[in-house]
Protein backbone atom coordinates (compact mmCIF):
# COMPACT_ATOMS: atom_id res chain seq x y z
CA UNK A 1 0.00 0.00 0.00
CA UNK A 2 3.00 2.28 -0.09
CA UNK A 3 2.31 4.94 -2.68
CA UNK A 4 3.85 8.33 -2.97
CA UNK A 5 2.08 11.30 -4.52
CA UNK A 6 4.74 11.51 -7.21
CA UNK A 7 4.18 7.93 -8.37
CA UNK A 8 0.42 8.46 -8.15
CA UNK A 9 0.74 11.41 -10.44
CA UNK A 10 2.83 9.52 -12.95
CA UNK A 11 0.30 6.72 -13.01
CA UNK A 12 -2.46 9.29 -13.51
CA UNK A 13 -0.62 10.90 -16.41
CA UNK A 14 0.09 7.52 -18.00
CA UNK A 15 -3.57 6.48 -17.80
CA UNK A 16 -4.79 9.76 -19.30
CA UNK A 17 -2.15 9.65 -22.05
CA UNK A 18 -3.07 6.06 -22.91
CA UNK A 19 -6.75 6.94 -23.03
CA UNK A 20 -6.01 9.87 -25.34
CA UNK A 21 -4.06 7.60 -27.71
CA UNK A 22 -6.71 4.85 -27.80
CA UNK A 23 -9.93 6.91 -27.88
CA UNK A 24 -10.05 7.78 -31.63
CA UNK A 25 -9.98 4.05 -32.46
CA UNK A 26 -12.99 3.22 -30.32
CA UNK A 27 -15.08 6.37 -30.80
CA UNK A 28 -17.09 7.26 -33.91
CA UNK A 29 -15.56 9.98 -36.13
CA UNK A 30 -17.75 12.62 -34.54
CA UNK A 31 -16.46 11.70 -31.07
CA UNK A 32 -12.86 12.28 -32.17
CA UNK A 33 -13.92 15.58 -33.63
CA UNK A 34 -15.45 16.71 -30.33
CA UNK A 35 -12.37 15.59 -28.42
CA UNK A 36 -10.20 17.62 -30.80
CA UNK A 37 -12.00 20.70 -29.51
CA UNK A 38 -11.43 19.49 -25.95
CA UNK A 39 -7.68 19.39 -26.68
CA UNK A 40 -7.69 22.90 -28.12
CA UNK A 41 -9.79 24.31 -25.25
CA UNK A 42 -7.50 22.58 -22.75
CA UNK A 43 -4.56 24.54 -24.21
CA UNK A 44 -6.44 27.84 -23.95
CA UNK A 45 -7.64 27.13 -20.41
CA UNK A 46 -4.13 26.09 -19.44
CA UNK A 47 -3.14 29.59 -20.53
CA UNK A 48 -5.76 31.01 -18.16
CA UNK A 49 -4.62 28.75 -15.32
CA UNK A 50 -1.11 30.14 -15.76
CA UNK A 51 -2.35 33.71 -15.94
CA UNK A 52 -5.14 33.76 -13.37
CA UNK A 53 -4.31 30.82 -11.15
CA UNK A 54 -0.56 31.31 -10.90
CA UNK A 55 -0.04 34.95 -11.65
CA UNK A 56 -3.27 36.26 -10.10
CA UNK A 57 -4.24 38.33 -13.16
CA UNK A 58 -7.84 38.12 -14.29
CA UNK A 59 -8.44 38.03 -18.03
CA UNK A 60 -12.03 37.96 -19.19
CA UNK A 61 -10.89 38.57 -22.77
CA UNK A 62 -8.92 35.52 -23.82
CA UNK A 63 -11.44 34.95 -26.59
CA UNK A 64 -9.68 37.84 -28.34
CA UNK A 65 -6.44 35.83 -28.49
CA UNK A 66 -8.39 32.83 -29.76
CA UNK A 67 -9.66 35.13 -32.50
CA UNK A 68 -6.20 36.43 -33.38
CA UNK A 69 -4.88 32.85 -33.49
CA UNK A 70 -7.73 31.66 -35.68
CA UNK A 71 -7.53 34.62 -38.06
CA UNK A 72 -3.73 34.24 -38.29
CA UNK A 73 -4.17 30.75 -39.72
CA UNK A 74 -7.02 31.85 -41.97
CA UNK A 75 -5.34 34.98 -43.33
CA UNK A 76 -1.88 33.45 -43.78
CA UNK A 77 -3.48 30.52 -45.61
CA UNK A 78 -5.73 32.64 -47.80
CA UNK A 79 -3.41 35.52 -48.69
CA UNK A 80 0.03 33.90 -48.55
CA UNK A 81 -0.64 30.19 -48.96
CA UNK A 82 1.25 29.33 -45.79
CA UNK A 83 0.75 25.69 -44.74
CA UNK A 84 -1.33 25.22 -41.61
CA UNK A 85 1.37 23.65 -39.43
CA UNK A 86 3.54 26.70 -39.96
CA UNK A 87 0.72 29.15 -39.37
CA UNK A 88 -0.24 27.40 -36.11
CA UNK A 89 3.29 28.21 -34.90
CA UNK A 90 2.91 31.74 -36.26
CA UNK A 91 -0.36 32.12 -34.31
CA UNK A 92 1.48 31.21 -31.13
CA UNK A 93 4.27 33.68 -31.82
CA UNK A 94 1.98 36.54 -32.86
CA UNK A 95 -0.33 36.09 -29.88
CA UNK A 96 2.65 35.70 -27.59
CA UNK A 97 4.07 39.04 -28.74
CA UNK A 98 0.64 40.67 -28.55
CA UNK A 99 0.24 39.22 -25.07
CA UNK A 100 3.60 40.63 -23.99
CA UNK A 101 2.53 44.06 -25.21
CA UNK A 102 -0.82 43.84 -23.44
CA UNK A 103 0.93 42.34 -20.42
CA UNK A 104 3.10 45.45 -20.13
CA UNK A 105 -0.09 47.45 -19.79
CA UNK A 106 -1.82 44.81 -17.66
CA UNK A 107 0.97 44.62 -15.11
CA UNK A 108 0.18 48.23 -14.24
CA UNK A 109 -3.54 47.60 -13.75
CA UNK A 110 -4.80 46.22 -10.49
CA UNK A 111 -6.93 43.07 -10.46
CA UNK A 112 -10.40 44.47 -10.89
CA UNK A 113 -9.33 47.03 -13.50
CA UNK A 114 -7.66 44.36 -15.60
CA UNK A 115 -10.87 42.33 -15.45
CA UNK A 116 -12.81 45.40 -16.56
CA UNK A 117 -10.53 46.20 -19.51
CA UNK A 118 -10.41 42.62 -20.75
CA UNK A 119 -14.21 42.39 -20.42
CA UNK A 120 -14.49 45.38 -22.74
CA UNK A 121 -11.99 43.79 -25.13
CA UNK A 122 -14.00 40.56 -25.20
CA UNK A 123 -17.24 42.37 -26.04
CA UNK A 124 -15.56 44.59 -28.64
CA UNK A 125 -13.73 41.79 -30.49
CA UNK A 126 -16.44 40.77 -33.01
CA UNK A 127 -17.18 44.35 -34.07
CA UNK A 128 -13.47 45.12 -34.47
CA UNK A 129 -13.07 42.00 -36.63
CA UNK A 130 -16.04 43.07 -38.75
CA UNK A 131 -14.60 46.53 -39.24
CA UNK A 132 -11.37 45.46 -40.97
CA UNK A 133 -13.13 43.79 -43.87
CA UNK A 134 -10.15 43.77 -46.23
CA UNK A 135 -8.19 41.52 -43.93
CA UNK A 136 -10.87 39.52 -42.14
CA UNK A 137 -13.56 39.13 -44.78
CA UNK A 138 -16.06 41.05 -42.61
CA UNK A 139 -19.15 39.33 -41.23
CA UNK A 140 -18.89 36.53 -43.78
CA UNK A 141 -15.62 35.29 -42.31
CA UNK A 142 -13.04 33.14 -44.07
CA UNK A 143 -13.35 29.49 -45.06
CA UNK A 144 -10.24 27.38 -44.56
CA UNK A 145 -9.30 24.30 -46.58
CA UNK A 146 -10.04 21.04 -44.79
CA UNK A 147 -6.95 19.08 -43.92
CA UNK A 148 -5.97 15.43 -44.12
CA UNK A 149 -3.08 13.36 -42.80
CA UNK A 150 0.11 13.90 -44.80
CA UNK A 151 2.12 11.39 -46.83
CA UNK A 152 2.67 8.03 -45.24
CA UNK A 153 0.02 8.55 -42.54
CA UNK A 154 -2.67 9.30 -45.09
CA UNK A 155 -3.65 5.70 -45.62
CA UNK A 156 -3.88 4.85 -41.91
CA UNK A 157 -5.59 7.89 -40.42
CA UNK A 158 -8.92 9.52 -41.22
CA UNK A 159 -8.90 13.35 -41.35
CA UNK A 160 -10.68 13.43 -37.98
CA UNK A 161 -8.08 11.18 -36.42
CA UNK A 162 -5.23 13.21 -37.88
CA UNK A 163 -6.70 16.44 -36.50
CA UNK A 164 -7.21 14.74 -33.17
CA UNK A 165 -3.63 13.49 -32.89
CA UNK A 166 -2.20 16.77 -34.14
CA UNK A 167 -4.16 18.74 -31.52
CA UNK A 168 -3.42 16.39 -28.66
CA UNK A 169 0.27 16.11 -29.57
CA UNK A 170 0.53 19.90 -29.38
CA UNK A 171 -1.52 19.92 -26.17
CA UNK A 172 0.75 17.28 -24.64
CA UNK A 173 3.84 19.28 -25.55
CA UNK A 174 2.40 22.52 -24.14
CA UNK A 175 1.27 20.82 -20.91
CA UNK A 176 4.77 19.35 -20.53
CA UNK A 177 6.38 22.76 -21.08
CA UNK A 178 4.02 24.37 -18.57
CA UNK A 179 4.53 21.70 -15.95
CA UNK A 180 8.35 21.91 -16.27
CA UNK A 181 8.53 25.68 -16.21
CA UNK A 182 6.07 26.00 -13.34
CA UNK A 183 8.10 23.65 -11.18
CA UNK A 184 11.18 25.84 -11.65
CA UNK A 185 12.17 29.38 -11.02
CA UNK A 186 9.35 30.93 -13.07
CA UNK A 187 6.63 29.01 -11.24
CA UNK A 188 8.09 29.83 -7.84
CA UNK A 189 8.36 33.52 -8.68
CA UNK A 190 4.80 33.68 -10.00
CA UNK A 191 3.38 31.95 -6.94
CA UNK A 192 5.41 34.17 -4.64
CA UNK A 193 4.09 37.29 -6.38
CA UNK A 194 0.53 36.03 -6.25
CA UNK A 195 0.62 35.10 -2.58
CA UNK A 196 2.54 38.07 -1.22
CA UNK A 197 3.80 40.63 -3.66
CA UNK A 198 5.62 42.76 -1.08
CA UNK A 199 7.55 39.78 0.27
CA UNK A 200 8.37 38.56 -3.25
CA UNK A 201 9.66 41.96 -4.30
CA UNK A 202 11.90 42.16 -1.27
CA UNK A 203 13.46 38.86 -2.38
CA UNK A 204 14.28 40.45 -5.72
CA UNK A 205 11.37 39.08 -7.81
CA UNK A 206 10.32 41.71 -10.34
CA UNK A 207 6.51 41.89 -10.50
CA UNK A 208 6.25 43.63 -13.84
CA UNK A 209 8.73 41.22 -15.50
CA UNK A 210 6.99 38.06 -14.35
CA UNK A 211 3.46 39.34 -14.79
CA UNK A 212 4.21 40.48 -18.34
CA UNK A 213 5.88 37.16 -19.05
CA UNK A 214 2.83 35.26 -17.74
CA UNK A 215 0.53 37.33 -19.96
CA UNK A 216 2.60 36.67 -23.06
CA UNK A 217 2.89 32.98 -22.27
CA UNK A 218 -0.82 32.64 -21.62
CA UNK A 219 -1.71 34.57 -24.79
CA UNK A 220 0.58 32.36 -26.89
CA UNK A 221 -1.28 29.29 -25.59
CA UNK A 222 -4.64 30.89 -26.34
CA UNK A 223 -3.40 31.79 -29.84
CA UNK A 224 -2.32 28.23 -30.59
CA UNK A 225 -5.65 26.97 -29.26
CA UNK A 226 -7.49 29.45 -31.50
CA UNK A 227 -5.44 28.30 -34.49
CA UNK A 228 -6.29 24.65 -33.79
CA UNK A 229 -9.99 25.43 -33.38
CA UNK A 230 -9.96 27.32 -36.68
CA UNK A 231 -8.18 24.46 -38.48
CA UNK A 232 -10.64 21.93 -37.06
CA UNK A 233 -13.71 24.04 -37.86
CA UNK A 234 -12.26 25.07 -41.25
CA UNK A 235 -13.99 28.42 -40.81
CA UNK A 236 -13.53 31.65 -38.89
CA UNK A 237 -16.10 34.44 -38.47
CA UNK A 238 -16.40 37.43 -36.13
CA UNK A 239 -19.47 36.17 -34.33
CA UNK A 240 -17.79 32.94 -33.29
CA UNK A 241 -15.40 35.01 -31.16
CA UNK A 242 -17.96 36.85 -29.08
CA UNK A 243 -18.04 37.47 -25.38
CA UNK A 244 -19.51 33.99 -24.86
CA UNK A 245 -16.20 32.37 -25.85
CA UNK A 246 -14.19 34.38 -23.33
CA UNK A 247 -16.78 33.58 -20.67
CA UNK A 248 -16.67 29.88 -21.51
CA UNK A 249 -12.89 29.83 -21.08
CA UNK A 250 -13.07 31.54 -17.70
CA UNK A 251 -15.89 29.20 -16.67
CA UNK A 252 -13.84 26.17 -17.70
CA UNK A 253 -10.80 27.40 -15.80
CA UNK A 254 -12.76 28.14 -12.61
CA UNK A 255 -14.83 24.94 -12.65
CA UNK A 256 -11.82 22.78 -13.50
CA UNK A 257 -9.65 24.42 -10.89
CA UNK A 258 -7.51 27.51 -11.27
CA UNK A 259 -4.58 26.16 -9.34
CA UNK A 260 -3.98 22.94 -11.21
CA UNK A 261 -2.89 21.81 -14.67
CA UNK A 262 -5.40 18.97 -14.40
CA UNK A 263 -8.02 21.65 -13.90
CA UNK A 264 -7.40 22.85 -17.47
CA UNK A 265 -8.15 19.38 -18.82
CA UNK A 266 -11.27 18.99 -16.69
CA UNK A 267 -12.43 22.49 -17.61
CA UNK A 268 -12.01 21.75 -21.32
CA UNK A 269 -14.13 18.60 -21.05
CA UNK A 270 -16.80 20.61 -19.22
CA UNK A 271 -17.05 23.46 -21.69
CA UNK A 272 -17.18 21.10 -24.68
CA UNK A 273 -19.73 18.60 -23.38
CA UNK A 274 -21.81 20.44 -20.77
CA UNK A 275 -23.44 22.84 -23.28
CA UNK A 276 -24.15 19.98 -25.70
CA UNK A 277 -25.81 18.06 -22.93
CA UNK A 278 -27.68 21.01 -21.41
CA UNK A 279 -28.87 22.20 -24.83
CA UNK A 280 -31.13 19.15 -24.96
CA UNK A 281 -33.14 20.59 -22.07
CA UNK A 282 -33.45 24.14 -23.39
CA UNK A 283 -31.37 26.61 -25.36
CA UNK A 284 -31.09 28.72 -22.20
CA UNK A 285 -30.01 25.81 -19.99
CA UNK A 286 -26.24 25.96 -20.75
CA UNK A 287 -26.03 29.55 -19.47
CA UNK A 288 -28.03 28.80 -16.35
CA UNK A 289 -25.93 25.74 -15.54
CA UNK A 290 -22.66 27.61 -16.22
CA UNK A 291 -23.69 30.58 -14.14
CA UNK A 292 -24.97 28.64 -11.16
CA UNK A 293 -21.95 26.32 -11.29
CA UNK A 294 -19.60 29.34 -11.17
CA UNK A 295 -21.38 30.77 -8.15
CA UNK A 296 -21.60 27.44 -6.31
CA UNK A 297 -17.92 26.63 -6.96
CA UNK A 298 -16.81 30.06 -5.76
CA UNK A 299 -18.94 29.87 -2.62
CA UNK A 300 -18.24 26.26 -1.64
CA UNK A 301 -15.22 24.84 -3.54
CA UNK A 302 -12.93 27.66 -4.70
CA UNK A 303 -10.33 25.12 -5.90
CA UNK A 304 -12.73 23.84 -8.55
CA UNK A 305 -13.13 20.16 -9.38
CA UNK A 306 -9.38 19.48 -9.38
CA UNK A 307 -9.02 21.16 -6.00
CA UNK A 308 -11.96 19.18 -4.67
CA UNK A 309 -10.43 15.86 -5.76
CA UNK A 310 -7.07 16.82 -4.34
CA UNK A 311 -8.73 17.48 -0.99
CA UNK A 312 -10.49 14.13 -1.12
CA UNK A 313 -7.23 12.32 -1.95
CA UNK A 314 -5.32 14.07 0.81
CA UNK A 315 -8.10 13.23 3.21
CA UNK A 316 -8.08 9.55 2.21
CA UNK A 317 -4.32 9.32 2.64
CA UNK A 318 -4.59 10.63 6.15
CA UNK A 319 -7.09 7.94 7.01
CA UNK A 320 -5.10 5.05 5.56
CA UNK A 321 -3.08 3.67 8.46
CA UNK A 322 -0.50 1.87 6.28
CA UNK A 323 0.49 5.02 4.51
CA UNK A 324 3.76 6.64 5.46
CA UNK A 325 3.07 10.16 6.62
CA UNK A 326 5.17 12.16 4.28
CA UNK A 327 4.36 15.81 3.76
CA UNK A 328 2.33 16.36 0.63
Amino acid sequence: MMSSPRIDRRIGIAIVALAIVILPWVLPAYGSFELTYVGAYAIAILGLVILTGLSGQISLGHGAFLAVGGYTVAILGQHAGVPYWLSICAAGVICGLLGLAIGLVASRLEGVYLALSTFALAVATPSILKHFKGLTGGSGGITLPTIAAPGALHAGLSPEQWLYYLTWAIAGLLFFVASSLLRGRIGRSLRALRDNEVAAVSFGVSPSYYKTLAFGWSAAYAGIAGALVAVATAFVSPDSYGFAVSLALVTGAVLGGLDSLWGALIGAVIIEFLPLWAQKISSAAPSIVYGLALIVVMLFAPGGIAGFFRRVVVDLRRRLPTHSRRPL
Binding site: Y113, A120, S127, G291, M298
Partner: protein, 293 residues
Amino acid sequence: MHDLAQQIVSGLATGSIFASLALALVLIYRSMGVINFAQGEMAMFTTFIAWQLVQQGLPIWAAFALTIVVAFVGGVALEVVLIRPVERAAPLTIVIVTLGLLITLNGLAGLFWGYVVKPFPTPFPTTPIHVGSVSFSAQDIGIILVSLAALGIITLFFQKTKLGLAMRAAALYPDESRVLGIRVSRMLALGWGLAAVMGAISGIMVAPVVFLDPNMMQGIIVYAFAAAVLGGIESPLGAVIGGLVLGVVLNLLGTYVEAIGTDLRLGVAFAIIVVVLLFRPAGLFGRVGTQRV
Protein backbone atom coordinates in the same frame (compact mmCIF):
# COMPACT_ATOMS: atom_id res chain seq x y z
CA MET B 1 -25.69 73.30 -37.62
CA HIS B 2 -29.21 71.96 -37.03
CA ASP B 3 -27.89 68.53 -37.66
CA LEU B 4 -25.10 69.05 -35.13
CA ALA B 5 -27.56 70.23 -32.45
CA GLN B 6 -29.71 67.15 -33.05
CA GLN B 7 -26.71 64.88 -32.89
CA ILE B 8 -25.59 66.43 -29.62
CA VAL B 9 -29.03 66.05 -28.04
CA SER B 10 -29.32 62.46 -29.14
CA GLY B 11 -25.77 61.90 -27.86
CA LEU B 12 -26.84 63.36 -24.50
CA ALA B 13 -29.80 60.96 -24.49
CA THR B 14 -27.63 57.84 -24.96
CA GLY B 15 -25.10 59.45 -22.64
CA SER B 16 -27.63 59.78 -19.85
CA ILE B 17 -28.44 56.08 -20.21
CA PHE B 18 -24.72 55.31 -19.88
CA ALA B 19 -24.63 57.69 -16.92
CA SER B 20 -27.42 55.88 -15.05
CA LEU B 21 -25.75 52.52 -15.49
CA ALA B 22 -22.32 53.97 -14.70
CA LEU B 23 -23.73 55.45 -11.50
CA ALA B 24 -25.04 52.00 -10.58
CA LEU B 25 -21.49 50.64 -10.99
CA VAL B 26 -20.03 53.50 -8.94
CA LEU B 27 -22.53 52.98 -6.11
CA ILE B 28 -21.36 49.41 -5.69
CA TYR B 29 -17.69 50.16 -6.33
CA ARG B 30 -17.62 52.88 -3.68
CA SER B 31 -19.24 50.74 -1.06
CA MET B 32 -17.20 47.59 -1.52
CA GLY B 33 -14.41 48.14 -4.05
CA VAL B 34 -16.00 45.67 -6.43
CA ILE B 35 -17.11 45.98 -10.02
CA ASN B 36 -20.47 44.35 -10.53
CA PHE B 37 -20.12 42.69 -13.92
CA ALA B 38 -23.75 41.59 -13.69
CA GLN B 39 -25.04 45.19 -13.54
CA GLY B 40 -26.04 45.17 -17.21
CA GLU B 41 -27.81 41.83 -16.98
CA MET B 42 -29.64 42.95 -13.84
CA ALA B 43 -30.87 45.96 -15.84
CA MET B 44 -31.86 43.69 -18.73
CA PHE B 45 -33.74 41.34 -16.42
CA THR B 46 -35.72 44.12 -14.74
CA THR B 47 -36.54 45.57 -18.15
CA PHE B 48 -38.05 42.24 -19.12
CA ILE B 49 -40.12 42.40 -15.93
CA ALA B 50 -41.38 45.82 -17.00
CA TRP B 51 -42.24 44.39 -20.42
CA GLN B 52 -44.12 41.53 -18.80
CA LEU B 53 -46.11 43.99 -16.67
CA VAL B 54 -47.02 45.99 -19.78
CA GLN B 55 -48.13 42.74 -21.46
CA GLN B 56 -50.39 42.12 -18.45
CA GLY B 57 -52.14 45.37 -19.28
CA LEU B 58 -50.44 47.87 -16.98
CA PRO B 59 -49.82 51.35 -18.37
CA ILE B 60 -46.13 51.88 -19.12
CA TRP B 61 -45.53 54.40 -16.32
CA ALA B 62 -47.21 52.14 -13.74
CA ALA B 63 -45.08 49.24 -14.98
CA PHE B 64 -42.05 51.52 -14.68
CA ALA B 65 -42.83 52.36 -11.05
CA LEU B 66 -43.57 48.77 -10.08
CA THR B 67 -40.40 47.55 -11.78
CA ILE B 68 -38.35 50.00 -9.75
CA VAL B 69 -39.73 48.48 -6.55
CA VAL B 70 -39.02 44.96 -7.82
CA ALA B 71 -35.49 45.99 -8.85
CA PHE B 72 -34.78 47.41 -5.41
CA VAL B 73 -35.96 44.28 -3.62
CA GLY B 74 -34.10 42.08 -6.11
CA GLY B 75 -30.86 44.04 -5.71
CA VAL B 76 -31.01 43.79 -1.93
CA ALA B 77 -31.78 40.06 -2.13
CA LEU B 78 -28.86 39.38 -4.49
CA GLU B 79 -26.47 41.15 -2.14
CA VAL B 80 -27.67 39.21 0.87
CA VAL B 81 -27.69 35.80 -0.81
CA LEU B 82 -24.70 35.94 -3.17
CA ILE B 83 -22.34 38.73 -2.23
CA ARG B 84 -22.41 38.74 1.57
CA PRO B 85 -20.79 35.28 1.82
CA VAL B 86 -17.82 36.47 -0.29
CA GLU B 87 -17.76 40.08 0.95
CA ARG B 88 -14.27 39.76 2.40
CA ALA B 89 -12.90 37.35 -0.21
CA ALA B 90 -10.25 38.16 -2.83
CA PRO B 91 -11.32 40.38 -5.75
CA LEU B 92 -11.04 37.41 -8.10
CA THR B 93 -13.70 35.52 -6.13
CA ILE B 94 -16.18 38.40 -6.21
CA VAL B 95 -15.51 39.04 -9.90
CA ILE B 96 -16.26 35.39 -10.67
CA VAL B 97 -19.43 35.42 -8.55
CA THR B 98 -20.75 38.50 -10.39
CA LEU B 99 -19.82 36.83 -13.70
CA GLY B 100 -21.78 33.78 -12.60
CA LEU B 101 -24.71 36.05 -11.84
CA LEU B 102 -24.34 37.67 -15.28
CA ILE B 103 -24.48 34.30 -17.07
CA THR B 104 -27.33 33.00 -14.90
CA LEU B 105 -29.53 36.07 -15.41
CA ASN B 106 -28.86 35.96 -19.15
CA GLY B 107 -29.89 32.31 -19.24
CA LEU B 108 -32.97 32.85 -17.08
CA ALA B 109 -34.16 35.69 -19.31
CA GLY B 110 -33.69 33.40 -22.30
CA LEU B 111 -35.62 30.66 -20.53
CA PHE B 112 -38.54 32.88 -19.48
CA TRP B 113 -38.81 35.23 -22.44
CA GLY B 114 -36.83 33.61 -25.29
CA TYR B 115 -34.13 35.03 -27.52
CA VAL B 116 -36.41 36.64 -30.10
CA VAL B 117 -35.94 40.41 -30.16
CA LYS B 118 -39.04 42.21 -28.84
CA PRO B 119 -40.16 45.80 -29.32
CA PHE B 120 -40.54 47.79 -26.11
CA PRO B 121 -43.14 50.55 -25.83
CA THR B 122 -41.69 54.04 -25.45
CA PRO B 123 -43.13 55.98 -22.54
CA PHE B 124 -42.68 59.26 -24.44
CA PRO B 125 -44.66 60.98 -27.22
CA THR B 126 -43.43 60.22 -30.72
CA THR B 127 -43.98 63.68 -32.17
CA PRO B 128 -40.81 65.73 -32.43
CA ILE B 129 -40.33 68.85 -30.31
CA HIS B 130 -39.54 72.05 -32.22
CA VAL B 131 -37.19 74.60 -30.75
CA GLY B 132 -36.89 77.45 -33.19
CA SER B 133 -36.17 75.79 -36.51
CA VAL B 134 -34.52 72.71 -34.99
CA SER B 135 -36.59 69.66 -34.15
CA PHE B 136 -35.61 67.21 -31.45
CA SER B 137 -36.96 63.75 -30.82
CA ALA B 138 -39.28 63.81 -27.79
CA GLN B 139 -37.89 60.44 -26.83
CA ASP B 140 -34.34 61.85 -26.56
CA ILE B 141 -35.54 64.75 -24.43
CA GLY B 142 -37.63 62.39 -22.27
CA ILE B 143 -34.70 60.04 -21.70
CA ILE B 144 -32.50 62.95 -20.64
CA LEU B 145 -35.12 64.34 -18.25
CA VAL B 146 -35.95 61.02 -16.59
CA SER B 147 -32.29 60.07 -16.18
CA LEU B 148 -31.32 63.46 -14.80
CA ALA B 149 -34.27 63.37 -12.39
CA ALA B 150 -33.18 59.95 -11.14
CA LEU B 151 -29.59 61.13 -10.77
CA GLY B 152 -30.78 64.24 -8.92
CA ILE B 153 -32.92 62.23 -6.50
CA ILE B 154 -30.02 59.88 -5.74
CA THR B 155 -27.71 62.83 -5.11
CA LEU B 156 -30.23 64.49 -2.77
CA PHE B 157 -30.70 61.19 -0.97
CA PHE B 158 -26.97 60.86 -0.33
CA GLN B 159 -26.43 64.53 0.58
CA LYS B 160 -29.54 65.41 2.54
CA THR B 161 -30.84 62.33 4.36
CA LYS B 162 -29.48 60.64 7.44
CA LEU B 163 -29.67 57.25 5.75
CA GLY B 164 -27.65 58.59 2.83
CA LEU B 165 -25.05 59.91 5.22
CA ALA B 166 -24.90 56.54 6.99
CA MET B 167 -24.40 54.81 3.66
CA ARG B 168 -21.56 57.12 2.73
CA ALA B 169 -19.97 56.61 6.12
CA ALA B 170 -20.29 52.83 5.88
CA ALA B 171 -18.63 52.90 2.46
CA LEU B 172 -15.71 55.10 3.46
CA TYR B 173 -15.09 54.04 7.06
CA PRO B 174 -16.74 50.66 7.67
CA ASP B 175 -15.02 49.95 11.00
CA GLU B 176 -15.66 53.39 12.50
CA SER B 177 -19.26 53.27 11.29
CA ARG B 178 -19.78 49.95 13.01
CA VAL B 179 -18.60 51.52 16.27
CA LEU B 180 -21.13 54.30 15.77
CA GLY B 181 -23.92 51.76 15.42
CA ILE B 182 -24.38 51.78 11.65
CA ARG B 183 -25.28 48.35 10.32
CA VAL B 184 -22.63 48.27 7.59
CA SER B 185 -23.77 45.12 5.79
CA ARG B 186 -27.32 46.46 5.73
CA MET B 187 -25.97 49.62 4.06
CA LEU B 188 -24.17 47.50 1.45
CA ALA B 189 -27.40 45.67 0.66
CA LEU B 190 -29.15 49.02 0.35
CA GLY B 191 -26.42 50.11 -2.08
CA TRP B 192 -27.10 47.06 -4.24
CA GLY B 193 -30.80 47.85 -4.17
CA LEU B 194 -30.23 51.43 -5.34
CA ALA B 195 -27.78 50.26 -8.01
CA ALA B 196 -30.39 47.82 -9.29
CA VAL B 197 -32.90 50.68 -9.45
CA MET B 198 -30.53 52.86 -11.50
CA GLY B 199 -29.92 49.86 -13.76
CA ALA B 200 -33.64 49.31 -14.22
CA ILE B 201 -34.11 52.94 -15.20
CA SER B 202 -31.32 52.73 -17.77
CA GLY B 203 -32.75 49.48 -19.13
CA ILE B 204 -36.30 50.82 -19.51
CA MET B 205 -34.99 54.02 -21.12
CA VAL B 206 -32.78 52.18 -23.61
CA ALA B 207 -35.14 49.29 -24.47
CA PRO B 208 -37.36 51.27 -26.90
CA VAL B 209 -34.18 52.26 -28.77
CA VAL B 210 -32.22 49.01 -28.91
CA PHE B 211 -35.22 46.64 -28.46
CA LEU B 212 -35.52 43.94 -25.89
CA ASP B 213 -33.48 40.73 -25.86
CA PRO B 214 -31.30 38.94 -23.30
CA ASN B 215 -28.09 40.39 -24.80
CA MET B 216 -29.35 43.96 -25.11
CA MET B 217 -27.08 45.36 -22.36
CA GLN B 218 -23.87 43.64 -23.42
CA GLY B 219 -22.58 46.61 -25.37
CA ILE B 220 -24.16 49.22 -23.10
CA ILE B 221 -22.45 47.87 -19.98
CA VAL B 222 -19.09 48.35 -21.75
CA TYR B 223 -19.99 51.99 -22.44
CA ALA B 224 -21.03 52.32 -18.80
CA PHE B 225 -17.65 50.92 -17.75
CA ALA B 226 -15.94 53.43 -20.00
CA ALA B 227 -18.09 56.25 -18.58
CA ALA B 228 -17.37 55.25 -14.99
CA VAL B 229 -13.63 54.93 -15.64
CA LEU B 230 -13.54 58.20 -17.54
CA GLY B 231 -15.28 60.07 -14.74
CA GLY B 232 -13.37 58.29 -12.01
CA ILE B 233 -14.80 55.03 -10.77
CA GLU B 234 -15.25 56.39 -7.25
CA SER B 235 -17.02 59.58 -8.24
CA PRO B 236 -20.81 59.68 -8.77
CA LEU B 237 -20.60 63.11 -10.41
CA GLY B 238 -17.77 61.79 -12.58
CA ALA B 239 -19.89 58.85 -13.70
CA VAL B 240 -22.68 61.18 -14.81
CA ILE B 241 -20.40 63.59 -16.66
CA GLY B 242 -18.36 60.68 -18.05
CA GLY B 243 -21.55 59.11 -19.38
CA LEU B 244 -22.81 62.32 -21.01
CA VAL B 245 -19.41 63.10 -22.57
CA LEU B 246 -19.06 59.55 -23.86
CA GLY B 247 -22.57 59.59 -25.34
CA VAL B 248 -21.97 62.81 -27.23
CA VAL B 249 -18.44 61.89 -28.37
CA LEU B 250 -19.46 58.44 -29.63
CA ASN B 251 -22.46 59.87 -31.45
CA LEU B 252 -20.40 62.58 -33.14
CA LEU B 253 -17.58 60.14 -34.01
CA GLY B 254 -20.09 57.68 -35.43
CA THR B 255 -21.77 60.38 -37.51
CA TYR B 256 -18.89 62.50 -38.71
CA VAL B 257 -15.79 60.25 -38.70
CA GLU B 258 -16.26 57.66 -41.37
CA ALA B 259 -13.28 55.55 -40.28
CA ILE B 260 -15.02 54.81 -36.97
CA GLY B 261 -18.63 54.45 -38.01
CA THR B 262 -20.69 52.16 -35.83
CA ASP B 263 -18.40 49.10 -35.84
CA LEU B 264 -15.57 50.65 -33.91
CA ARG B 265 -17.63 52.34 -31.16
CA LEU B 266 -17.00 49.46 -28.77
CA GLY B 267 -13.34 49.56 -29.74
CA VAL B 268 -13.27 53.28 -28.86
CA ALA B 269 -14.85 52.51 -25.47
CA PHE B 270 -12.22 49.83 -24.86
CA ALA B 271 -9.45 52.27 -25.85
CA ILE B 272 -10.84 54.94 -23.50
CA ILE B 273 -10.87 52.44 -20.61
CA VAL B 274 -7.26 51.40 -21.19
CA VAL B 275 -5.88 54.88 -21.82
CA VAL B 276 -7.60 56.43 -18.79
CA LEU B 277 -6.59 53.58 -16.48
CA LEU B 278 -2.98 53.85 -17.64
CA PHE B 279 -2.47 57.59 -17.62
CA ARG B 280 -5.07 58.90 -15.21
CA PRO B 281 -6.38 55.99 -13.19
CA ALA B 282 -8.44 58.28 -10.95
CA GLY B 283 -10.36 59.53 -13.98
CA LEU B 284 -11.46 63.12 -14.45
CA PHE B 285 -13.08 63.57 -11.04
CA GLY B 286 -11.68 60.87 -8.79
CA ARG B 287 -9.18 61.47 -6.03
CA VAL B 288 -5.77 59.88 -6.39
CA GLY B 289 -5.53 57.31 -3.64
CA THR B 290 -2.38 56.28 -1.84
CA GLN B 291 -1.74 52.76 -0.75
CA ARG B 292 0.04 51.67 2.36
CA VAL B 293 2.15 48.55 1.96
